[in-house]
């Protein structure tokens, strides 16, 4: 046992010091628009190649306009690789959470600034208890699990994972919520005390991702419950998840 303590002491501190560090060079995040002008509907390569129909290329007044739904994007980087003009590039930011579904739809011409109703003194400012309900492929769950490890250590930000909805302030839902989970998810939400917050974690939870429009009605959490915040990504990086929860903590 003493040897084990000795070993652990020698390992030093693993916890990461920089909050929401950008992704390392070469790591694929969500796509973003650059200032390069798109080739327009005559090209449309990104739209055809996108496996989740997240991209829509249109032209208004002869000017090309591309809209990109980050809530449907699975971060496969196919658009980044196919775009001949370099209009779409890889985004290495990990602060990607947003308060509304509309904020996730970005356009190449009108750059929207994310609006957030956060205040310095939110009700869950100091600590928040989170219940995780998984309804998907387990990638997002593993990343929420990773938030708890020594590297990201989300407990230092006052975020605790709890084992019952009765103790929870926030419900983290992962996965597209297929039909067999509809009633279980609703009863979990109803068991929570108010005020309560729902966060859709990951592309499936936001829009159904690759599973949408199937016979299992797996089209995302907001078809079942009112959603207060969205964390896009497939799966979102642990920093994105921590940042998304921190955002709702600041809410009045």
């Amino acid at each position: 046992m003493l040897k084990l303590f000795g070993y652990l002491l020698k390992q030093g501190v693993a916890t990461s010091g920089d909050y929401c560090a950008p992704l390392a060079e070469g790591v694929i995040g969500l796509p973003k628009f650059t200032d390069e002008v798109c080739a327009g509907t005559s090209c449309g390569a990104c739209q055809t190649e996108c496996p989740t129909q997240a991209i829509n290329v249109t032209e208004s007044d002869g000017k090309p306009d591309v809209t990109l739904d980050l809530g449907s994007c699975i971060g496969c980087a196919v658009c980044v690789r196919t775009c001949p003009t370099g209009t779409i590039a890889n985004d290495n930011r990990t602060k990607v959470a947003s308060d509304t579904r509309l904020d996730l739809i970005v356009s190449s011409t009108s750059k929207r600034t994310t609006s957030s109703n956060t205040t310095p003194q939110g009700i869950f400012e100091r600590s928040i208890a989170a219940r995780v309900v998984s309804t998907g492929c387990s990638a997002c769950d593993l990343e929420i699990g990773a938030c708890n490890n020594a590297i990201f250590d989300m407990e230092r930000f006052g975020i605790h994972i709890v084992a019952s909805p009765r103790f929870a302030d926030v419900l983290l839902v992962t996965g597209p919520v297929p039909k067999a989970m509809h009633s279980a998810l609703k009863s979990c939400y109803e068991a929570m005390a108010e005020p309560r917050i729902v966060i859709a974690v990951g592309t499936c939870a936001i829009s159904g991702g690759v599973h949408k429009n199937g016979y299992t009605e797996a089209n995302g959490v907001d078809k079942i419950l009112p959603v207060d915040a969205y964390i896009p990504g497939c799966p979102p990086h642990p920093w994105s998840i921590i940042d998304g929860i921190r955002n709702v903590m600041k809410r009045k």
Binding site: Y7, I74, G75, S138, A139, K179, A180, A218
Partner: protein
């Protein structure tokens, strides 16, 4: 590798399958259907690395169940009943597997035949009841206390001892197999990866092999190596995670915390290789999407470092007396039952089944003696943990070694737009949980008419139910973690 197609009349099916399973190297790969007019029985010969696809025409949507002589078919027959409305007559415990009460009774997702009016009774699920004085039930789930996928466990107990565990799945059934047929084959890999993201690389790899066999094209040697490296990295990170989870359930938190930190290093290796922590979007039919040439040195360095760091942690874990006491003799699955229920992967090897797709369906990447044969006979939690630990060593060795031997060249070959018509394509891969199969049937125009996935968890869920029997309720988490099964991979 295309399986050989053979028509097997319904009268011969039972005898033929029983004979096949008795011969050395004979394995049942999958039982499914294409559109509800036939039964497909995929059998494998692990000695020669070949596969056969038996097609049995079915009339009137019923066929005799094989569960009494081939126990492992019980699970497949339930799924086929759900998805194709083919009724196995004489099945001892026929009940829905994937479709729950909330689905319309006449929904038969994969059958293209007229279905007669079906009643809601068909969807009713009755768990097996154990009766007697002092017997009580513990229901758990579908939403679990931890951060894991949903599933319902029902324990029938007497005091602290589990008599029977019934596992009900299907909560994360998302309709993956039907979705696979509705998209162009170039986009299939993204859905395949999302079938079970902890085996994303394995699923993409199996999809790529199956599609390539349907194009009658082979990828480059360099791409084949890179895919194998990717698969080993995935195995490494998941085995570390599973052993850490096991330590956590024993209450050995120093080990579980260290393991979850070291899993971060394994994920970083995957990130260097593929640009993604879960190695998504990397493997594609025809090869891989990018060549990580400039990162290979760093991957080797990190792998060697991880090897050094893991060694003492594993020693602390396996030398700890309390950990040994908690794991030894717990959750035993006998070799006989393991064979009867066709257990695969780590669970199979812990019960003396010498089967590893990397050796038996070799693709020319690994050398003959390279995959250490990690076999245990005890079949208990300890045996599973030991097999995992040894496979971690093998994976660490293989990552370094395969990079050393990596051939030069390109990493992607162009594939034709259209697949070969009326063919069967099979992708078989050793995922970190075991044998993963992707089976594709094409129609007259080269479109995909049926895409079947058999996750290793399909075989092993029954193994978990067996392992829990006659153990204490408090030991169940250990049985569960030692198997480390996928809900989403099973439910699809």
């Amino acid at each position: 590798m295309n399986p050989k197609h053979e028509i097997v009349p319904i009268s011969d099916r039972e005898k033929k399958l029983n004979d096949w399973l008795k011969k050395p190297g004979g394995r049942l790969g999958h039982i499914t259907s294409i559109d509800g007019k036939q039964l497909i029985t995929l059998v494998l010969d692990t000695e020669t690395g070949s596969s056969f696809c038996w097609e049995t025409p079915i009339e009137h949507s019923t066929y005799p169940s094989l569960t009494h002589t081939v126990p492992q078919s019980h699970w497949y027959e339930r799924t086929v009943w759900d998805m194709f409305n083919l009724t196995p007559t004489g099945h001892p415990r026929l009940k829905p597997n994937l479709l729950h009460e909330s689905y319309a009774p006449d929904l038969v997702p994969l059958a293209h035949v007229e279905v007669n009016s079906l009643t809601a009774e068909r969807r009713q699920y009755k768990p097996m009841e154990v009766t007697g004085e002092g017997i009580y039930e513990i229901p758990v789930g579908p939403i679990h206390a931890g951060i894991i996928e949903p599933g319902h466990f029902r324990f029938s107990c007497m005091g602290e001892v589990i008599f029977n565990l019934e596992i009900r799945l299907g909560y994360v059934h998302r309709g993956v197999e039907r979705q696979m047929c509705s998209v162009p084959w170039r986009h299939q890999r993204f859905i395949a990866e999302a079938a079970a993201s902890d085996s994303a690389a394995a699923n993409a790899y199996a999809n790529a092999i199956a599609i390539e066999s349907l194009c009658e094209e082979a990828t480059t040697a360099r791409a084949e190596y890179l895919r194998s490296i990717s698969l080993e990295v995935e195995r490494l990170s998941m085995h570390i995670s599973d052993l850490g989870g096991l330590a956590g359930d024993i209450g050995f938190l120093a080990i579980s915390a260290t393991m979850s930190r070291l899993r971060g290093s394994a994920l970083r290796i995957g990130e260097l290789l593929t640009g993604s922590r879960f190695q998504r979007g990397f493997i594609c039919p025809g090869g891989v999407v990018s060549d990580p040439a400039s990162n290979l040195m760093q991957i080797q360095k990190m792998t060697k470092q991880l090897q050094i760091e893991l060694k003492p942690v594993l020693q602390f874990f396996f030398n700890n007396q309390v950990a040994n006491d908690r794991m030894e003799g717990i959750g035993r699955v006998s070799p006989r039952l393991a064979i009867d229920f066709g257990l695969v992967g780590v669970a199979g090897r812990a019960s003396n089944i010498d089967y590893d797709v990397r050796r038996h369906f070799a693709r020319g990447v690994y050398r003959q003696d390279e995959i250490a044969i990690a076999i245990e006979t005890a079949g208990d939690v300890m045996a599973l943990a030991r097999v995992r630990a040894r496979e971690i060593e093998t994976s660490l060795y293989l990552i370094v070694e395969l990079i050393d031997r990596l051939p030069e060249g390109t990493v992607r070959v162009p594939l034709p737009e259209k697949l070969k018509s009326n063919q069967i394509g099979l992708g078989i891969v050793e995922a970190h949980r075991g044998e993963l199969l992707h089976l594709i049937f094409t129609d007259n125009d080269g479109g995909v008419k049926r895409y079947a996935i058999k996750d290793p968890s399909v075989n092993n869920w029954t193994g978990l139910a067996i392992s829990a029997r006659n153990n204490l309720v408090t030991d169940f988490p250990l049985c569960n973690k030692s198997f480390g099964l996928s809900y989403s991979g099973h439910d699809l």
